[in-house]
C-alpha cells in the first residue's frame, strides 16, 4: 500500500505546484499591450448615392431623357444593384442633397457626416457632342475622408445603363474584394400557359431585368439556353419540326443554324470558357452520352460511353476538366473527367441524387441540384467534399453562376401549379430573392462580364 500513499502525498502538493507553475507561466507572457476586438458578421454597408451631377443640362438620346434626369437614373441603378445584392444599405438618390459638379471629385464631407453612411458614391454624366455619353464614378470613405476608387466610361446612348452597372461593379469590387458581375446579361426561358401545354420562349435581359427581349415566338418549345462567352450566340434546344435539336441563334440578327445534323435527339448544350467548343448530349437507342464539337462546326468527339444516361457537362474555368451528370451507378450522380474524356470519377456521395453540376467561374466550387426528398441548390468542392445547401424549397433546380462565382441563379417550381420563377442566392446562403420577369421563367443562363 505504500505506492498508494506515495500517490496521495504527491497529490497533496499538486495545488502548490499549480500555483508556482501559474506564476512561471505569467513570467513568459508578452510584455506589450494587446487585446482582442470581436465584431459581428451580419452588418450591411450603408452607402449614400446622390444623383450624378452634370456639366450642362442637355438632351440625350437615351430613354432617360436629359442629362439631369439621366444623372438621377444612373444613381438609382447603382443603388438598386447594391440593394438587390444584399449586404448593402444604399440611400438615395431620392432624399439626398444633389452635389454640384465641382464636389464630385472633392466631396463636401461635412454634408455627408452624421448621416450614418459609411461610404459615398458620386458621379457625373456629360453629353458629348456626338451623342455619346461620358460617365464618371467615384467612391469615397466618409469617416476616413479619402477616395477609395474611381473610373469612367464612354458609352453610346443605347448602353447608358451599362455605365451605371460598371459603377456599381466598381463599388462592389472595392468593398467586397470580389470580381464584378452587374454588367452582364441573362438568357432564360419565359413561360406562360397551362401546365400541360406551356408556351416556352427564349428571352434575354440585363442582370437587373432591364432591356428584356424575346427571341422566339413560342410556337415550338424552347428549352435550356446557354449564352456564349462573347455574347454573340445562344445555344438552345428547340422542338422545331417536332424533333428536339440544338440550335445556335444570333441575338442581334435572330439568324439560327443547327449545331449538328443527326437523326438522334440532341440535348443539354454547353459552351467551353473560351467559346471554342460545345458540349452536347445525344441519345442513341435510349442511351445518352456526352460529345464535344468545335463551336464553328466539325467532327464531334465522343467523351462518355457508359450504358447509362451521361448528360450535361460544365468546364472548369481553366478548361482542363469537365464535371457532368451520370446515372451509371443506378441514380443521378456527379462525375468529373478530363476534357478528353479520360479519368472519369464520381465525386458526389451525399445520399439522394445529385444533378445539373456547374463549375464556378472562380473554380473553387461546384453548384448542383441535390435531390433528397426536396430539390435543393447546393455547392461542393471540386473534390466532392464540403457540401453546403443554399436553399430549402420543394423544387429548386438548374443553378447557374454569376460571372464572379459569388451568386447563384436557379429556377423554382411551385408545387401543384407548376409555375416557375427565377431566383438568386448568395454563396453564403443569404439574400435569397426572386428576380422580376415579365412572366414566369426557368432555365436561366448567366453570361460573363461584358468588356
Amino acid at each position: 500500500m505504500t505506492s498508494v500513499k506515495r500517490i496521495l502525498t504527491s497529490l497533496s502538493i499538486l495545488p502548490a505546484l499549480l500555483l508556482s507553475s501559474a506564476v512561471q507561466a505569467q513570467e513568459a507572457a508578452p510584455e506589450s499591450a494587446e487585446e482582442d476586438v470581436v465584431g459581428t458578421l451580419s452588418n450591411d454597408t450603408v452607402v449614400a448615392i446622390p444623383a450624378f451631377a452634370t456639366n450642362a443640362e442637355a438632351a440625350t438620346q437615351t430613354s432617360a431623357g436629359s442629362t439631369t434626369a439621366l444623372g438621377n437614373a444612373l444613381a438609382a441603378i447603382v443603388a438598386d444593384d447594391l440593394r438587390n445584392n444584399g449586404f448593402y444599405k444604399p440611400t438615395g438618390p431620392a432624399g439626398l442633397p444633389r452635389p454640384a459638379l465641382a464636389e464630385i471629385q472633392t466631396p463636401a464631407y461635412g454634408t455627408w457626416e452624421g448621416r450614418s453612411a459609411e461610404m459615398l458614391v458620386q458621379g457625373y454624366v456629360r453629353a458629348n457632342g456626338d451623342g455619346q455619353l461620358t460617365v464618371g464614378c467615384y467612391l469615397y470613405d466618409i469617416s476616413l475622408k479619402q477616395r477609395l476608387a474611381q473610373a469612367g466610361w464612354t458609352v453610346g446612348p443605347g448602353e447608358w445603363r451599362r455605365a451605371a452597372h460598371k459603377c456599381a461593379d466598381m463599388v462592389y469590387s472595392r468593398l467586397s474584394g470580389e470580381n464584378p458581375f452587374f454588367d452582364s446579361r441573362i438568357a432564360y426561358i419565359a413561360e406562360t400557359g397551362p401546365k400541360d401545354r406551356r408556351m416556352k420562349r427564349l428571352a434575354i435581359m440585363d442582370s437587373d431585368g432591364a432591356n428584356h427581349t424575346y427571341l422566339t415566338t413560342g410556337q415550338t418549345i424552347a428549352l435550356t439556353p446557354r449564352y456564349s462567352p462573347d455574347y454573340k450566340s445562344i445555344l438552345y434546344l428547340s422542338y422545331f419540326n417536332g424533333a428536339p435539336r440544338i440550335y445556335i441563334i444570333d441575338p442581334a440578327s435572330r439568324a439560327q443554324r443547327l449545331l449538328f445534323q443527326s437523326k438522334n435527339p440532341l440535348f443539354a448544350p454547353r459552351w467551353s470558357p473560351d467559346g471554342k467548343w460545345v458540349l452536347y448530349s445525344m441519345a442513341t437507342g435510349g442511351n445518352t452520352d456526352i460529345y464535344k464539337i468545335p463551336a464553328a462546326g466539325g467532327t464531334p468527339t465522343r467523351l462518355t460511353d457508359s450504358p447509362g444516361i451521361d448528360i450535361g457537362g460544365s468546364f472548369s474555368p481553366d478548361g482542363k476538366r469537365i464535371v457532368f451528370e451520370s446515372d451509371r451507378s443506378g441514380s443521378q450522380q456527379v462525375y468529373v473527367m478530363n476534357v478528353d474524356g479520360t479519368g472519369q470519377n464520381r465525386i458526389s456521395f451525399f445520399g439522394g441524387r445529385a444533378a445539373t453540376p456547374e463549375w464556378s467561374p472562380r473554380g473553387d466550387q461546384i453548384a448542383f441540384t441535390h435531390i433528397a426528398g426536396n430539390f435543393r441548390i447546393a455547392v461542393m468542392s471540386p473534390a466532392g467534399g464540403e457540401l453546403r445547401h443554399l436553399t430549402d424549397s420543394w423544387q429548386d433546380e438548374a443553378p447557374t453562376w454569376a460571372p464572379n462565382g459569388r451568386i447563384i441563379q436557379f429556377f423554382r417550381t411551385a408545387r401543384g401549379s407548376g409555375r416557375t420563377g427565377l431566383w438568386q442566392v448568395d454563396l453564403t446562403g443569404r439574400n435569397e430573392r426572386k428576380l422580376t420577369t415579365p412572366v414566369d421563367g426557368s432555365d436561366p443562363s448567366w453570361g460573363p462580364i461584358q468588356p
Binding site: G156, K166, K195, T220, F267, I311, E397
Partner: protein, 199 residues
C-alpha cells in the same frame, strides 16, 4: 485629384430587328390528339342525350380526313387513322413506368401487344412513340429518361414483329404532362410512353 482615369470605350449596341416568323405550325402529335379528344367527346355526349335535338350539329369529322364519307355519322373513325387507333386501343396506346424505371412490365406487354396487332394490321402506317417523365426530376435528365422509355417501348414492338423503319421516338421529358397535380397519382400517370400513329 485632377483628371479622370482612363476611360473605356463601349461600342454602341445594335438596333433591334423585327422578329422573322420562321417556325411552322404545331407538331403533328398535338393536332391528332385534339382531334381524338373531340371525337371521343362527341361519342360520349351522344350517349347522354335524352331527346333528339331540333337540328343536327355539323359533322365534326368532316374537316379532317378526306377519306371520310359525308354523312357517315358522328364517332365512327376511319379505319386505320389515328382516331381509330386511339379508339381501338382504349387507353392501351399508353404504357406506364415506375419512378426512374424504363422496363416493360406485364401490363405494358399486354398493351404493346395490342398496339403491335393494330400496326401489323395496317402495315402502311408509321408511328411515333413519345416518352415522358414526371415533374419530379431535373429537366435535361428527364428528356433523356423519356427517350429511354420511348426506346424501350419501341424495342418491344420490334420484337413483336413491327418493322423498325415505321417506328420513331421523341422525348418530351416533363414538358407535356397529362395529369396536372403534384402527387404520386398524377406523377404515376405522367411516367408514360404513348404511341401515336401518323396519319
Amino acid at each position: 485629384m485632377g483628371t479622370d482615369s482612363t476611360l473605356n470605350a463601349l461600342t454602341p449596341g445594335g438596333a433591334d430587328t423585327k422578329l422573322n416568323k420562321k417556325e411552322i405550325a404545331m407538331p403533328v402529335q398535338t393536332r391528332g390528339g385534339a382531334l381524338a379528344l373531340t371525337l371521343l367527346g362527341s361519342v360520349a355526349l351522344s350517349a347522354c342525350a335524352s331527346k333528339a335535338p331540333k337540328q343536327l350539329p355539323p359533322d365534326p369529322g368532316a374537316a379532317v380526313s378526306t377519306d371520310t364519307s359525308g354523312g357517315a355519322g358522328m364517332g365512327v373513325a376511319t379505319p386505320g387513322s389515328q382516331a381509330d387507333f386511339v379508339a381501338t386501343m382504349m387507353g392501351q396506346d399508353t404504357i406506364l413506368f415506375d419512378t426512374d424505371r424504363y422496363n416493360i412490365d406485364s401490363t405494358d406487354q399486354t398493351a404493346l401487344a395490342a398496339q403491335a396487332a393494330w400496326l401489323i394490321k395496317y402495315p402502311a402506317k408509321r408511328a411515333t412513340i413519345e416518352g415522358h417523365a414526371d415533374e419530379r426530376g431535373t429537366r435535361e435528365y428527364n428528356l433523356a429518361l423519356g427517350e429511354r422509355r420511348a426506346n424501350s417501348a419501341r424495342n418491344y414492338l420490334l420484337s413483336l414483329g413491327v418493322d423498325a423503319a415505321r417506328l420513331g421516338t421523341v422525348s418530351y421529358g416533363k414538358e407535356r404532362p397529362v395529369a396536372l397535380g403534384s402527387d404520386e397519382d398524377s406523377w404515376s400517370r405522367n411516367r408514360r410512353a404513348v404511341t401515336v400513329t401518323i396519319d
